[in-house]
Amino acid sequence: MSDEPAAEVDTLPPETRMLPTETRAPVAASGWHTANRRMRQSALLLLLAAMVAGFARADAAFLHLANLMSVLQSVSVVAILAVGVTLTLAVGGFDLSIGAVAASSVMAASYAMVVWQWGALATVPMVLAFGAGVGLVNAALIIWLRIPDLLATLAMNFLLTGLQLIPTAGRSIASGLILSDGESANGVFDPGFLAIGRARLWGVVPVPVLLMLGIAVVLHVLTQHTRFGRLFYAIGGNEVAARLAGAPTRALRLCAYVISGTLASLGGLVVAARVGRGDISSGSSLLLDAVAAALIGFAVLDRRYPNVFGTVVGAIFVGVLLNGLTMLNAPYYTQDFVKGAVLVGALSLTFGLGRGRS
């Protein structure tokens, strides 16, 4: 990345910030330090490349375009959600409601099309507005009622997980659903809507992958190359300092939560369009997978702070690993264990090993 600082200026451990005086004169990095740092910066990317090479060696089919697209498609929803979490992490918050937002978006989209018989053009904006609305409520709880981020969004997660069950009395939504008044709902999923999850560009690149890449690029530019991103990080790093420097801290934090909620509902739309029914159990693992991707992202390039590029690489990393292991006939029930192991490894890389560099 072109915006990485020169290696020699960032060799003091973060703890040094708190030391009173004297010890903070610029320190020239030794060759070993530079090498060590370069190693840690590229560790995850090298590991990813090694994994791809290894899986390709084990089975040439792994590298087929169709398989690579299927890997990307499998991580697209998690990556979209994880980018939202990354943004809330950047402002010093944490959005734990995204899993439930995505799940209830699946239900909302299905309900709109099956029961209300809406088309895609009405359903998609409604669901995205729902996600943005949840983000607004989160922000209101956090900013005006001053509930700690984790607690507010955890409560919202709980609330939405329950709320999505109420309109259908706990049943999944498909055409022919019997409503509480005894009538059956005969709406169908709009084919235009299903295209969001199933269509491919030039018959190759699935729409969810395009969405993921588009969102990643836009939010990467937003966080790394605009003043809004700078202010997001400033608020997350030191809200007092950001406020005293004239940043509209409340508006920006609100923005982060609204974007996070909107992205989560977009993730829900993709799931609904792919599955083609409103499954009440969809989205149950999305939250933890997205949080894991965002945290693995800390270790990518050894940035040690939430960043969009790292988050997307983190999601792809997990996707490649799971796809490869499945190809090698690893049982499905080992998947969570593998994800957990990757997360522990990445966090050790970020926090543990990095401290040895002083």
Partner: protein
């Protein structure tokens, strides 16, 4: 004594066992002394009180608990403790050392002066032979510092050797029997009592210090008028007029309302009444954002808390620190492309003589004085009408202080209001000085200035 980076803290760390010396040896009470760890040094009788006294106790513990903490973690400590037994032992300890401490208060509630006393009491309770204090008066008011000095004199009379590290020449003159000046890791001067302060300063920065600046005649136009301002309901009304090109200092004890007044003018704290006018127009900022838009900028106390983003995140370089409040003006399209940010930092580095590897150097790699210059550079990067600086010289050595003073006094377009609890800093810096006490402003007349 010594400027930032002179090696004072390193020396302390060697004495107290944090670092091992590269060469040479130490003798303590005539015997070779080579501590393997801070605990080892403490057992041998080296008591160290670091600059940050936050660590002297823990919120939730009383002062008595904190005082007895070392005893509690000792291997032979009793398993069961009652509040009363701890209180009794702590009282005995405090009485023996001649300390007057609020034993029953929670550590979180006590002020910096009591925390300092507590840290000293904890350190000397272990039969110390040498007491090392690193900048103990950095966050104390004059009266609190006086209390500290009398405690230290008591300890000295009991035969304790005290190493007292300070930037403040007033402290040294008041207290020291001998002053050793460090510069660049070497002893630059060793001065007996009475200590020749100007020689000490010269040795410290390696060149003579510019004389105290002569007050200029205030004939600039009136920029800010404060009339009947109430910092809190029922408080005394405050009047203050600032003119372009003058530097006004507020001094006085902690808690007198200096920071509060600056925050009120800078939009960071609400006011209870009164009115302000900026260049003749009513001015009542509801947030720092509004104040900054009107050209009234505030650099808060404690730069790490009020100005800096962590160094390892975006926004943590010298250039990014300077540009933070100006992003909207410098990058109206939103995208951070172009050299505006880097050029501003390069200018500031040259103008303020900031010692940094370059505009992209992370802030944590700079010394305290250079970090403070970056704060000043931030608020001088765009023309301001009123510049408010709260304790701008905390942890700043004399050399950097002189550079900052020069930069402030060279600014002829801005009205500058500085709060400092050190009267000497005020005298070095200001055209006019007010003493603030109990939220009241008392002009410090010329006569007092020269008598002081």
């Amino acid at each position: 004594m010594g400027a930032n980076g002179a090696g004072k803290s390193t020396l302390v760390n060697v004495l107290s066992g944090v670092y091992a010396p590269d060469a040479g040896r130490m003798l303590l009470r005539g015997r070779p002394f080579a501590p393997a760890s801070p605990a080892d040094a403490a057992r041998a009788g080296i008591a160290t009180v670091h600059q940050s006294t936050q660590l002297a106790g823990t919120p939730g513990l009383t002062v008595a608990d904190a005082l007895m903490l070392d005893r509690m973690v000792a291997a032979d400590a009793p398993l069961f403790l009652s509040r009363r037994s701890v209180r009794r032992a702590a009282a005995a300890l405090a009485a023996k050392a001649g300390f007057d401490l609020p034993l029953d208060r929670d550590f979180a509630e006590i002020g910096p002066a009591d925390r300092q006393m507590l840290a000293i009491a904890r350190a000397v309770s272990r039969e110390a032979a040498v007491l090392i204090l690193d900048e103990p008066t950095a966050s104390l008011s004059t009266r609190e510092a006086e209390r500290l000095f009398s405690v230290l004199e008591g300890l000295r009379a009991r035969g304790l050797a005290i190493i007292y590290i300070s930037h403040r020449s007033g402290d040294i003159a008041r207290l020291a029997d001998r002053a050793v000046v460090l510069r660049g890791g070497r002893i630059a001067a060793d001065l007996p009592r009475p200590i020749d302060l100007s020689a000490a300063m010269t040795a410290m920065i390696g060149r003579p210090l510019a004389a105290v600046s002569a007050p200029r005649r205030a004939d600039g136009e009136v920029v800010l008028e404060v009339r009947g301002l109430l910092l809190q309901a029922g408080g005394p009304p405050l009047d203050l007029t600032l003119r372009a090109g003058e530097v006004v200092a507020l001094t006085g004890p902690l808690g007198a309302g200096k920071s509060r007044l600056l925050a009120a003018i800078g939009g960071a704290a609400p006011i209870a009444g009164g009115a302000m006018a900026l260049c003749g127009r009513p001015f009542r900022p509801r947030s720092p954002r509004e104040a900054i838009a009107a050209g009234v900028v505030l650099a808060g106390p404690d730069r790490h808390r009020s100005s800096f983003v962590p160094s390892d995140r975006p926004g943590g370089s010298v250039a990014e620190t300077i540009s933070l409040p100006h992003l909207r003006r410098w990058f109206p399209a939103g995208f951070l492309f172009g050299n505006r940010e880097r050029d501003a930092a390069t200018d500031a580095i040259a103008r303020l003589r900031i010692r940094a590897a370059g505009p992209r150097a992370r802030l944590a790699t700079l010394s305290g004085g250079n970090q403070q210059k970056v704060v000043l550079a931030r608020w001088q990067a765009e023309p301001a009408r009123v510049l408010l600086l709260d304790e701008p010289f905390q942890g700043v050595d004399v050399g950097a202080r002189a550079d900052i003073v020069a930069a402030l006094r060279a600014d002829s377009a801005t009205a500058i209001l500085v709060a400092t609890s050190d009267p000497e800093e005020a005298m070095q810096l200001a055209d006019r000085i007010f003493v603030m006490d109990g939220q009241r402003l008392i002009p410090w007349s010329q006569a007092d200035r020269f008598a002081a």
